[in-house]
Symmetry: C2
Subunit: 185 residues, 2 copies
């Protein structure tokens, strides 16, 4: 039981991932990324940007000279693109296949985009693609899936293909809406 500590060993942290994405998006949007732009884009102070840029430069993900524009290195671009792709794939899967509301999907995708391994993202892309294709099995499946009620009122571990010793759903449904309250507030 040591995986959890590797949280901090990810190639980039949550913040770093968003800084890289900000740089990439500003580059395409306005042709350059400067400290002030990044600060505005992310809603942080300029000094925060400066120090994060130092850290990203040390990691070889960007290049930035004093008072100059910020450039992504090949490695930084790779990470930015991968994170962005993950985010898109996850969002589409959540909204289009799982049918989760837009704002929940966006929020969840934003939280986990950089944590999900490329392996999983690729498989998620495959599944979502196939689900949305016109393959008859996919069409049939979605029709049947949407038509089936999943109230789980008669739930029992024996009848459930996923739960084993206890109903997982019970511990999840009671918290549904928790995030919405915050979003609505």
């Amino acid at each position: 039981m040591d995986i959890w500590k590797r949280f901090g060993e990810k190639e980039v942290s949550h913040s770093m991932a968003h800084y890289l994405q900000a740089v990439a998006s500003l580059k395409t949007e306005k042709g350059h990324a400067r400290v002030g732009d990044i600060a505005t884009h992310l809603g942080v102070s300029k000094s925060g940007v400066t120090s994060m840029l130092r850290s990203l430069q040390t990691r070889g993900l960007i290049s930035h000279e004093k008072y100059g524009c910020v450039e992504l290195t090949a490695n930084g671009l790779r990470l930015a693109e991968r994170t962005e792709s993950s985010r898109l794939v996850i969002t589409r899967f959540l909204t289009e296949i799982l049918g989760v509301p837009e704002h929940v999907a966006s929020e969840d995708a934003c939280m986990i985009e950089h944590l999900v391994s490329p392996e999983v993202s690729v498989e998620l892309l495959k599944l979502t693609s196939f689900m949305r294709s016109d393959h008859p099995a996919a069409r049939q499946f979605l029709l049947a899936y949407r038509a089936t009620p999943h109230n789980c009122t008669d739930h029992s571990p024996e009848s459930c293909a996923v739960c084993q010793t206890s109903c997982l759903r019970d511990s999840l449904v009671r918290d549904v809406g928790t995030a919405n309250e915050r979003a609505g507030a």
Copy 2:
């Protein structure tokens, strides 16, 4: 574009979630959870545990008096159970539906378990359950899905149901195996 900053506003942090889970699991395993047990279980120092317990107590998630055993409050138990259920659901979805290797699934699940909203977990449970049920549409789908190659060699945005402007897969596949290298090292 401000969602990303709400990362720190989650009900519990990554660390906290694992502390709660550790307490819950020690309680069922050996009947009680003490500082030393938690430290061993999580691979952190006892002093780290002490200070985290203070923080969790402040948040009303545990109760702990000096030199005593640690107890989860109702709220703490709710969170621990929810996190654990999310982890199980995500892991099963990743291994059984997406077909991702065990160690990748475990690692990813451990990273994101506390970040995905209950809404998403519930939907993931529904989908996984249905997929693994004996409903003919599910059987058919899985057969067809497994049989279809997803090499994406002939990929073009127009032919892909998910990618729009560019091939998302390209930015993902080049990084596949990155995590494995680390796991293998």
